[in-house]
Amino acid sequence: MFISAKGITKSFGNLEVLKDIDITIDKGNIVAIIGPSGSGKTTLLRCLNALEMPEKGTITFDDNFEIDFAQKPKKSVIKTLRLKSGMVFQSYNLFPHKTALQNVTEGPLYVQKKNRQVVNELARQLLDKVGLADKLNLYPHQLSGGQQQRVGIARALAIQPELMLFDEPTSALDPELVGEVLKVMKDLANEGWTMVIVTHELKFAEQVADKVLFMDNGVVVEEGPPEQVLKNPLEERTRQFIQRIMNP
Protein backbone atom coordinates (compact mmCIF):
# COMPACT_ATOMS: atom_id res chain seq x y z
CA MET A 1 0.00 0.00 0.00
CA PHE A 2 1.31 3.36 -0.99
CA ILE A 3 -1.24 6.11 -0.77
CA SER A 4 -4.38 5.79 1.23
CA ALA A 5 -7.21 8.19 1.80
CA LYS A 6 -9.59 7.25 4.57
CA GLY A 7 -12.97 8.59 5.59
CA ILE A 8 -12.92 11.51 3.15
CA THR A 9 -16.07 13.54 3.73
CA LYS A 10 -16.92 16.74 1.92
CA SER A 11 -20.03 18.90 1.74
CA PHE A 12 -20.91 22.01 -0.19
CA GLY A 13 -23.45 23.73 2.01
CA ASN A 14 -26.09 21.12 2.76
CA LEU A 15 -25.06 18.89 -0.10
CA GLU A 16 -22.88 16.01 1.05
CA VAL A 17 -20.79 15.33 -2.04
CA LEU A 18 -18.36 12.76 -0.62
CA LYS A 19 -19.57 10.36 2.02
CA ASP A 20 -16.83 8.73 4.00
CA ILE A 21 -14.76 7.59 1.04
CA ASP A 22 -11.83 5.17 1.38
CA ILE A 23 -9.37 4.66 -1.42
CA THR A 24 -5.96 3.05 -1.57
CA ILE A 25 -3.50 3.25 -4.42
CA ASP A 26 -0.50 0.99 -4.71
CA LYS A 27 2.78 2.32 -5.98
CA GLY A 28 2.97 2.25 -9.75
CA ASN A 29 -0.70 1.48 -10.07
CA ILE A 30 -3.27 3.24 -12.17
CA VAL A 31 -6.67 3.85 -10.65
CA ALA A 32 -9.48 4.96 -12.92
CA ILE A 33 -12.52 6.65 -11.44
CA ILE A 34 -15.75 6.50 -13.39
CA GLY A 35 -19.30 7.50 -12.58
CA PRO A 36 -22.18 9.71 -13.63
CA SER A 37 -22.03 13.47 -13.69
CA GLY A 38 -22.27 15.01 -10.25
CA SER A 39 -21.26 11.82 -8.46
CA GLY A 40 -18.25 13.53 -6.83
CA LYS A 41 -15.32 12.30 -8.95
CA THR A 42 -13.76 15.70 -9.44
CA THR A 43 -14.31 16.62 -5.83
CA LEU A 44 -12.58 13.44 -4.65
CA LEU A 45 -9.61 14.10 -6.91
CA ARG A 46 -9.38 17.68 -5.67
CA CYS A 47 -9.51 16.51 -2.07
CA LEU A 48 -6.51 14.30 -2.73
CA ASN A 49 -4.33 17.38 -3.10
CA ALA A 50 -6.31 19.68 -0.83
CA LEU A 51 -7.59 21.87 -3.62
CA GLU A 52 -10.85 21.22 -1.82
CA MET A 53 -10.63 20.88 1.94
CA PRO A 54 -12.56 17.85 3.18
CA GLU A 55 -14.25 18.26 6.55
CA LYS A 56 -12.96 14.90 7.65
CA GLY A 57 -10.55 12.24 6.53
CA THR A 58 -6.87 11.41 6.42
CA ILE A 59 -4.41 10.93 3.60
CA THR A 60 -1.21 9.00 4.11
CA PHE A 61 1.74 8.41 1.82
CA ASP A 62 3.55 5.21 2.86
CA ASP A 63 4.61 5.75 6.43
CA ASN A 64 6.28 9.07 5.90
CA PHE A 65 3.42 11.51 5.52
CA GLU A 66 0.02 11.93 7.07
CA ILE A 67 -2.52 14.71 6.92
CA ASP A 68 -5.66 14.72 9.03
CA PHE A 69 -8.27 17.10 7.72
CA ALA A 70 -10.35 16.97 10.88
CA GLN A 71 -7.57 18.85 12.74
CA LYS A 72 -7.25 21.93 10.57
CA PRO A 73 -3.87 21.09 8.97
CA LYS A 74 -1.05 23.62 8.89
CA LYS A 75 -0.23 25.47 5.67
CA SER A 76 3.16 23.79 5.45
CA VAL A 77 1.58 20.33 5.65
CA ILE A 78 -0.90 21.24 2.94
CA LYS A 79 1.91 22.51 0.75
CA THR A 80 3.84 19.27 1.27
CA LEU A 81 0.76 17.30 0.24
CA ARG A 82 0.31 19.44 -2.86
CA LEU A 83 3.89 18.94 -3.96
CA LYS A 84 3.40 15.19 -3.64
CA SER A 85 0.86 15.19 -6.44
CA GLY A 86 0.65 16.75 -9.87
CA MET A 87 -2.77 17.78 -11.16
CA VAL A 88 -3.89 17.81 -14.78
CA PHE A 89 -7.09 19.75 -15.41
CA GLN A 90 -9.88 19.17 -17.86
CA SER A 91 -9.47 22.74 -19.14
CA TYR A 92 -5.62 22.67 -19.06
CA ASN A 93 -5.39 25.94 -17.09
CA LEU A 94 -2.03 26.80 -18.58
CA PHE A 95 -0.60 30.21 -17.68
CA PRO A 96 -1.39 32.20 -20.84
CA HIS A 97 1.31 34.81 -20.26
CA LYS A 98 4.07 32.21 -20.09
CA THR A 99 5.60 30.08 -22.81
CA ALA A 100 5.34 26.29 -22.77
CA LEU A 101 8.81 26.13 -21.21
CA GLN A 102 8.00 28.78 -18.60
CA ASN A 103 4.77 26.99 -17.70
CA VAL A 104 6.82 23.91 -16.91
CA THR A 105 9.66 25.65 -15.08
CA GLU A 106 7.43 27.83 -12.90
CA GLY A 107 6.92 25.29 -10.10
CA PRO A 108 10.45 23.90 -9.75
CA LEU A 109 11.98 27.35 -10.14
CA TYR A 110 9.81 29.49 -7.88
CA VAL A 111 8.25 27.00 -5.47
CA GLN A 112 10.98 24.42 -5.09
CA LYS A 113 13.70 27.01 -5.72
CA LYS A 114 15.84 24.72 -7.79
CA ASN A 115 18.80 25.81 -9.86
CA ARG A 116 17.72 27.44 -13.11
CA GLN A 117 19.99 25.39 -15.36
CA VAL A 118 18.86 22.14 -13.80
CA VAL A 119 15.23 23.20 -14.12
CA ASN A 120 15.57 24.27 -17.75
CA GLU A 121 17.14 20.94 -18.58
CA LEU A 122 14.39 19.07 -16.72
CA ALA A 123 11.68 21.08 -18.47
CA ARG A 124 13.21 20.39 -21.89
CA GLN A 125 13.28 16.69 -21.15
CA LEU A 126 9.67 16.70 -19.99
CA LEU A 127 8.45 18.65 -23.01
CA ASP A 128 10.42 16.26 -25.19
CA LYS A 129 8.77 13.33 -23.43
CA VAL A 130 5.30 14.70 -24.24
CA GLY A 131 6.35 15.33 -27.84
CA LEU A 132 6.70 19.10 -27.72
CA ALA A 133 10.47 19.54 -27.99
CA ASP A 134 9.93 21.99 -30.85
CA LYS A 135 7.30 24.11 -29.09
CA LEU A 136 9.26 25.29 -26.05
CA ASN A 137 8.91 28.97 -26.77
CA LEU A 138 5.33 29.10 -27.94
CA TYR A 139 2.57 30.59 -25.85
CA PRO A 140 -0.51 28.50 -24.97
CA HIS A 141 -2.70 30.31 -27.50
CA GLN A 142 -0.31 29.20 -30.23
CA LEU A 143 -0.83 25.53 -29.35
CA SER A 144 -3.68 23.14 -30.16
CA GLY A 145 -5.81 21.77 -27.35
CA GLY A 146 -3.96 18.46 -27.36
CA GLN A 147 -0.61 20.25 -27.25
CA GLN A 148 -1.80 22.48 -24.42
CA GLN A 149 -2.90 19.49 -22.41
CA ARG A 150 0.49 17.84 -22.96
CA VAL A 151 2.16 21.00 -21.63
CA GLY A 152 -0.24 20.68 -18.69
CA ILE A 153 1.02 17.16 -18.08
CA ALA A 154 4.65 18.27 -18.32
CA ARG A 155 3.97 21.12 -15.88
CA ALA A 156 2.48 18.69 -13.37
CA LEU A 157 5.39 16.27 -13.79
CA ALA A 158 7.91 19.05 -13.31
CA ILE A 159 7.44 19.29 -9.57
CA GLN A 160 8.43 15.60 -9.52
CA PRO A 161 5.37 14.39 -7.67
CA GLU A 162 4.81 10.88 -6.36
CA LEU A 163 1.25 10.78 -7.66
CA MET A 164 -0.38 12.14 -10.80
CA LEU A 165 -4.01 13.21 -10.76
CA PHE A 166 -5.97 13.60 -14.00
CA ASP A 167 -9.47 15.07 -14.14
CA GLU A 168 -11.03 14.09 -17.46
CA PRO A 169 -7.92 15.23 -19.29
CA THR A 170 -9.33 14.59 -22.76
CA SER A 171 -12.95 15.63 -22.45
CA ALA A 172 -12.37 19.21 -23.63
CA LEU A 173 -10.51 17.98 -26.70
CA ASP A 174 -11.65 17.52 -30.27
CA PRO A 175 -11.93 13.77 -30.93
CA GLU A 176 -8.93 13.69 -33.24
CA LEU A 177 -6.69 15.13 -30.51
CA VAL A 178 -7.69 12.71 -27.75
CA GLY A 179 -5.28 10.01 -28.93
CA GLU A 180 -2.10 12.06 -28.55
CA VAL A 181 -2.90 12.85 -24.91
CA LEU A 182 -3.90 9.28 -24.07
CA LYS A 183 -0.66 8.08 -25.63
CA VAL A 184 1.37 10.31 -23.32
CA MET A 185 -0.59 8.95 -20.37
CA LYS A 186 0.06 5.38 -21.49
CA ASP A 187 3.77 6.18 -21.67
CA LEU A 188 3.63 7.45 -18.10
CA ALA A 189 1.82 4.28 -17.03
CA ASN A 190 4.54 2.18 -18.63
CA GLU A 191 7.21 4.21 -16.86
CA GLY A 192 5.65 3.19 -13.57
CA TRP A 193 3.95 6.44 -12.53
CA THR A 194 1.24 6.17 -9.93
CA MET A 195 -1.88 7.79 -11.33
CA VAL A 196 -5.50 8.46 -10.50
CA ILE A 197 -7.54 9.23 -13.59
CA VAL A 198 -11.11 10.45 -13.69
CA THR A 199 -12.31 9.51 -17.15
CA HIS A 200 -15.18 8.70 -19.43
CA GLU A 201 -12.86 6.84 -21.81
CA LEU A 202 -13.81 3.34 -20.71
CA LYS A 203 -11.67 1.67 -23.36
CA PHE A 204 -8.64 3.56 -22.15
CA ALA A 205 -9.46 2.69 -18.55
CA GLU A 206 -9.67 -0.94 -19.51
CA GLN A 207 -6.27 -0.82 -21.21
CA VAL A 208 -4.25 0.98 -18.53
CA ALA A 209 -6.05 0.75 -15.20
CA ASP A 210 -5.08 -1.71 -12.50
CA LYS A 211 -8.19 -0.79 -10.58
CA VAL A 212 -11.46 0.89 -11.51
CA LEU A 213 -13.68 2.73 -9.03
CA PHE A 214 -17.30 3.34 -9.85
CA MET A 215 -18.73 6.28 -7.91
CA ASP A 216 -22.30 7.36 -7.58
CA ASN A 217 -23.86 9.90 -5.28
CA GLY A 218 -20.74 10.49 -3.23
CA VAL A 219 -19.92 6.87 -2.48
CA VAL A 220 -17.73 4.23 -4.10
CA VAL A 221 -20.31 1.75 -5.30
CA GLU A 222 -17.90 -0.78 -6.70
CA GLU A 223 -14.16 -1.18 -7.10
CA GLY A 224 -12.05 -3.87 -8.62
CA PRO A 225 -9.95 -4.81 -11.66
CA PRO A 226 -11.22 -3.44 -14.98
CA GLU A 227 -12.29 -6.90 -16.18
CA GLN A 228 -14.72 -6.97 -13.28
CA VAL A 229 -16.01 -3.40 -13.03
CA LEU A 230 -16.14 -2.67 -16.74
CA LYS A 231 -17.06 -6.13 -18.08
CA ASN A 232 -18.88 -8.02 -15.36
CA PRO A 233 -19.92 -5.59 -12.68
CA LEU A 234 -21.23 -7.05 -9.46
CA GLU A 235 -23.48 -4.10 -8.75
CA GLU A 236 -26.62 -3.31 -10.66
CA ARG A 237 -25.91 0.45 -10.62
CA THR A 238 -22.51 -0.10 -12.21
CA ARG A 239 -24.03 -2.29 -14.89
CA GLN A 240 -26.63 0.35 -15.77
CA PHE A 241 -24.01 3.11 -15.98
CA ILE A 242 -21.69 1.10 -18.22
CA GLN A 243 -24.54 0.17 -20.49
CA ARG A 244 -25.60 3.78 -20.79
CA ILE A 245 -22.09 4.85 -21.80
CA MET A 246 -21.59 2.00 -24.24
CA ASN A 247 -24.98 2.41 -25.97
CA PRO A 248 -26.03 5.98 -25.51
Partner: protein, 236 residues
Protein backbone atom coordinates in the same frame (compact mmCIF):
# COMPACT_ATOMS: atom_id res chain seq x y z
CA UNK B 1 10.08 90.61 -10.23
CA UNK B 2 10.72 88.68 -13.42
CA UNK B 3 7.17 87.44 -13.42
CA UNK B 4 5.74 90.94 -13.09
CA UNK B 5 7.91 92.07 -15.90
CA UNK B 6 6.74 89.22 -18.09
CA UNK B 7 3.11 89.99 -17.31
CA UNK B 8 3.34 93.68 -18.09
CA UNK B 9 5.30 92.81 -21.20
CA UNK B 10 2.56 90.50 -22.35
CA UNK B 11 -0.04 93.14 -21.55
CA UNK B 12 1.68 95.85 -23.51
CA UNK B 13 2.23 93.73 -26.56
CA UNK B 14 -1.30 92.36 -26.44
CA UNK B 15 -2.70 95.84 -26.79
CA UNK B 16 -1.32 96.48 -30.23
CA UNK B 17 -0.97 93.09 -31.72
CA UNK B 18 -3.35 90.65 -33.39
CA UNK B 19 -4.69 87.45 -31.90
CA UNK B 20 -2.16 85.37 -33.77
CA UNK B 21 0.72 87.13 -32.10
CA UNK B 22 -0.82 86.74 -28.66
CA UNK B 23 -1.34 83.09 -29.42
CA UNK B 24 2.32 82.69 -30.34
CA UNK B 25 3.62 84.69 -27.42
CA UNK B 26 1.52 82.90 -24.83
CA UNK B 27 2.24 79.45 -26.22
CA UNK B 28 5.65 79.05 -24.64
CA UNK B 29 4.64 80.13 -21.11
CA UNK B 30 1.78 77.66 -21.24
CA UNK B 31 3.92 74.84 -22.58
CA UNK B 32 6.42 75.61 -19.85
CA UNK B 33 3.65 75.39 -17.26
CA UNK B 34 2.78 72.06 -18.79
CA UNK B 35 6.32 70.75 -18.73
CA UNK B 36 7.13 72.05 -15.28
CA UNK B 37 3.89 71.24 -13.53
CA UNK B 38 1.07 69.54 -15.47
CA UNK B 39 3.14 66.61 -16.71
CA UNK B 40 5.17 65.99 -13.52
CA UNK B 41 2.01 66.35 -11.43
CA UNK B 42 0.22 63.81 -13.59
CA UNK B 43 3.05 61.28 -13.62
CA UNK B 44 3.94 61.47 -9.95
CA UNK B 45 0.30 61.33 -8.85
CA UNK B 46 -0.43 58.45 -11.18
CA UNK B 47 2.54 56.34 -10.07
CA UNK B 48 1.77 56.91 -6.38
CA UNK B 49 -1.89 56.33 -7.13
CA UNK B 50 -1.09 52.95 -8.69
CA UNK B 51 0.72 51.80 -5.55
CA UNK B 52 -2.21 52.91 -3.43
CA UNK B 53 -4.64 51.26 -5.84
CA UNK B 54 -2.84 47.91 -5.87
CA UNK B 55 -2.58 47.87 -2.10
CA UNK B 56 -6.25 48.82 -1.73
CA UNK B 57 -7.36 46.22 -4.26
CA UNK B 58 -5.43 43.46 -2.48
CA UNK B 59 -6.82 44.60 0.86
CA UNK B 60 -10.37 44.51 -0.49
CA UNK B 61 -9.85 41.01 -1.87
CA UNK B 62 -8.61 39.65 1.44
CA UNK B 63 -10.84 37.72 3.78
CA UNK B 64 -10.09 39.67 6.96
CA UNK B 65 -12.46 42.49 7.83
CA UNK B 66 -9.56 44.38 9.38
CA UNK B 67 -8.27 44.93 5.85
CA UNK B 68 -11.44 45.08 3.79
CA UNK B 69 -13.30 47.64 5.89
CA UNK B 70 -10.69 50.44 5.83
CA UNK B 71 -10.20 49.84 2.12
CA UNK B 72 -13.91 50.06 1.41
CA UNK B 73 -14.29 53.21 3.48
CA UNK B 74 -11.41 54.91 1.72
CA UNK B 75 -12.80 54.11 -1.72
CA UNK B 76 -16.29 55.14 -0.71
CA UNK B 77 -15.14 58.46 0.78
CA UNK B 78 -13.07 59.41 -2.26
CA UNK B 79 -15.73 58.38 -4.75
CA UNK B 80 -18.42 60.14 -2.78
CA UNK B 81 -16.76 63.57 -2.66
CA UNK B 82 -15.73 66.06 -5.35
CA UNK B 83 -12.09 66.12 -6.37
CA UNK B 84 -12.00 69.88 -5.99
CA UNK B 85 -13.18 69.59 -2.39
CA UNK B 86 -10.49 66.98 -1.70
CA UNK B 87 -7.89 69.30 -3.16
CA UNK B 88 -9.09 72.21 -1.00
CA UNK B 89 -9.08 70.07 2.15
CA UNK B 90 -5.46 69.08 1.59
CA UNK B 91 -4.25 72.58 0.74
CA UNK B 92 -6.46 75.14 2.49
CA UNK B 93 -7.97 72.83 5.11
CA UNK B 94 -4.75 71.35 6.41
CA UNK B 95 -3.08 74.75 5.99
CA UNK B 96 -5.64 76.35 8.29
CA UNK B 97 -4.94 73.89 11.10
CA UNK B 98 -1.22 74.44 10.89
CA UNK B 99 -0.21 71.69 8.49
CA UNK B 100 1.14 73.75 5.64
CA UNK B 101 2.00 71.88 2.50
CA UNK B 102 3.19 73.57 -0.68
CA UNK B 103 0.81 73.70 -3.62
CA UNK B 104 2.57 71.08 -5.73
CA UNK B 105 2.89 68.38 -3.04
CA UNK B 106 -0.67 69.17 -1.89
CA UNK B 107 -1.87 68.52 -5.40
CA UNK B 108 0.15 65.29 -5.56
CA UNK B 109 -1.44 64.06 -2.32
CA UNK B 110 -4.98 64.86 -3.42
CA UNK B 111 -4.61 63.49 -6.94
CA UNK B 112 -2.84 60.28 -5.94
CA UNK B 113 -5.44 59.53 -3.27
CA UNK B 114 -8.16 60.18 -5.81
CA UNK B 115 -6.61 58.11 -8.58
CA UNK B 116 -5.75 55.40 -6.06
CA UNK B 117 -9.37 54.92 -5.05
CA UNK B 118 -10.80 54.85 -8.57
CA UNK B 119 -8.04 52.63 -9.92
CA UNK B 120 -8.30 50.18 -7.04
CA UNK B 121 -11.77 49.31 -8.32
CA UNK B 122 -10.38 48.75 -11.81
CA UNK B 123 -7.56 46.58 -10.48
CA UNK B 124 -9.87 44.63 -8.21
CA UNK B 125 -12.26 43.92 -11.05
CA UNK B 126 -9.43 42.85 -13.33
CA UNK B 127 -7.98 40.51 -10.70
CA UNK B 128 -11.43 39.00 -10.24
CA UNK B 129 -11.79 38.55 -13.98
CA UNK B 130 -8.91 36.06 -14.06
CA UNK B 131 -10.42 32.55 -14.18
CA UNK B 132 -10.41 30.49 -10.99
CA UNK B 133 -8.49 27.79 -12.86
CA UNK B 134 -5.41 30.03 -12.85
CA UNK B 135 -5.43 30.17 -9.04
CA UNK B 136 -5.96 26.43 -8.90
CA UNK B 137 -3.20 25.59 -11.34
CA UNK B 138 -0.79 27.75 -9.34
CA UNK B 139 -1.96 26.16 -6.11
CA UNK B 140 -1.36 22.64 -7.41
CA UNK B 141 2.26 23.43 -8.23
CA UNK B 142 2.67 24.58 -4.65
CA UNK B 143 2.47 28.35 -4.97
CA UNK B 144 1.36 30.43 -2.01
CA UNK B 145 -1.33 33.09 -2.22
CA UNK B 146 1.12 35.94 -2.62
CA UNK B 147 3.26 34.09 -5.15
CA UNK B 148 0.19 33.29 -7.21
CA UNK B 149 -0.94 36.89 -7.03
CA UNK B 150 2.43 38.30 -8.05
CA UNK B 151 3.56 35.75 -10.63
CA UNK B 152 0.32 34.53 -12.17
CA UNK B 153 -2.65 36.77 -11.49
CA UNK B 154 -1.35 40.34 -11.55
CA UNK B 155 0.53 39.98 -14.86
CA UNK B 156 -2.69 38.81 -16.49
CA UNK B 157 -4.83 41.35 -14.65
CA UNK B 158 -2.48 44.11 -15.83
CA UNK B 159 -3.37 43.40 -19.43
CA UNK B 160 -7.05 43.53 -18.61
CA UNK B 161 -6.71 46.78 -16.70
CA UNK B 162 -4.52 48.71 -19.16
CA UNK B 163 -7.37 50.18 -21.22
CA UNK B 164 -9.41 51.48 -18.24
CA UNK B 165 -6.26 52.65 -16.43
CA UNK B 166 -5.15 54.55 -19.52
CA UNK B 167 -8.46 56.33 -19.47
CA UNK B 168 -7.90 57.20 -15.83
CA UNK B 169 -4.48 58.54 -16.71
CA UNK B 170 -5.83 60.70 -19.52
CA UNK B 171 -8.58 62.01 -17.23
CA UNK B 172 -5.93 62.86 -14.68
CA UNK B 173 -4.05 65.02 -17.18
CA UNK B 174 -7.17 67.12 -17.58
CA UNK B 175 -8.06 67.07 -13.88
CA UNK B 176 -4.69 68.58 -12.96
CA UNK B 177 -6.10 71.86 -14.28
CA UNK B 178 -7.97 72.02 -10.96
CA UNK B 179 -4.60 72.48 -9.26
CA UNK B 180 -4.63 76.01 -10.70
CA UNK B 181 -7.09 76.78 -7.91
CA UNK B 182 -4.53 75.94 -5.24
CA UNK B 183 -1.89 78.08 -6.90
CA UNK B 184 0.04 75.43 -8.81
CA UNK B 185 1.30 77.27 -11.88
CA UNK B 186 0.43 74.56 -14.32
CA UNK B 187 -0.72 74.97 -17.89
CA UNK B 188 -4.19 76.29 -17.19
CA UNK B 189 -3.08 78.72 -14.49
CA UNK B 190 -0.67 80.22 -17.02
CA UNK B 191 -3.58 80.69 -19.38
CA UNK B 192 -5.59 82.33 -16.62
CA UNK B 193 -2.73 84.66 -15.70
CA UNK B 194 -2.26 85.82 -19.25
CA UNK B 195 -5.99 86.16 -19.83
CA UNK B 196 -6.33 88.30 -16.71
CA UNK B 197 -3.98 90.81 -18.30
CA UNK B 198 -5.13 90.70 -21.89
CA UNK B 199 -8.86 89.94 -21.45
CA UNK B 200 -8.57 87.60 -24.43
CA UNK B 201 -10.31 84.76 -22.62
CA UNK B 202 -11.62 83.01 -25.71
CA UNK B 203 -8.29 82.81 -27.44
CA UNK B 204 -6.26 81.81 -24.40
CA UNK B 205 -8.64 79.20 -23.06
CA UNK B 206 -9.04 77.66 -26.50
CA UNK B 207 -5.27 77.63 -26.74
CA UNK B 208 -5.08 75.85 -23.36
CA UNK B 209 -7.71 73.39 -24.50
CA UNK B 210 -5.68 72.65 -27.63
CA UNK B 211 -2.57 71.99 -25.60
CA UNK B 212 -4.45 69.53 -23.35
CA UNK B 213 -5.80 67.90 -26.45
CA UNK B 214 -2.33 67.47 -27.93
CA UNK B 215 -1.07 65.86 -24.71
CA UNK B 216 -4.03 63.50 -24.55
CA UNK B 217 -3.72 62.67 -28.22
CA UNK B 218 -0.08 61.67 -27.76
CA UNK B 219 -1.02 59.64 -24.69
CA UNK B 220 -3.72 57.76 -26.55
CA UNK B 221 -1.16 56.76 -29.17
CA UNK B 222 1.10 55.47 -26.39
CA UNK B 223 -1.90 53.63 -24.95
CA UNK B 224 -2.50 51.86 -28.26
CA UNK B 225 1.14 50.82 -28.43
CA UNK B 226 1.13 49.36 -24.92
CA UNK B 227 -2.11 47.50 -25.48
CA UNK B 228 -0.71 46.08 -28.68
CA UNK B 229 2.44 44.87 -26.94
CA UNK B 230 0.52 43.21 -24.13
CA UNK B 231 -1.60 41.35 -26.61
CA UNK B 232 1.20 39.10 -27.73
CA UNK B 233 0.00 36.14 -25.66
CA UNK B 234 -3.69 36.49 -26.33
CA UNK B 235 -5.61 34.32 -28.76
CA UNK B 236 -5.92 35.91 -32.16
Amino acid sequence: MAKMFLNSYLYSIAADMGGWELFQNSLWPMILGGIKNTIPLTFVSFVLGMFIALLTAVMRLSTTKLLTIPARMYVSAIRGTPLLVQLFIVFFGLGSIGITIDPFPSAVIAFSLNVGAYSSEIIRASIQSIPKGQWEAATTIGMSYSQTLIRIIIPQATRVSIPPLSNTFISLVKDTSLASLILVTELFRKAQEIAARTYDFMLLYIEAAMLYWVICFILSIVQDKIEHRLERYVAR
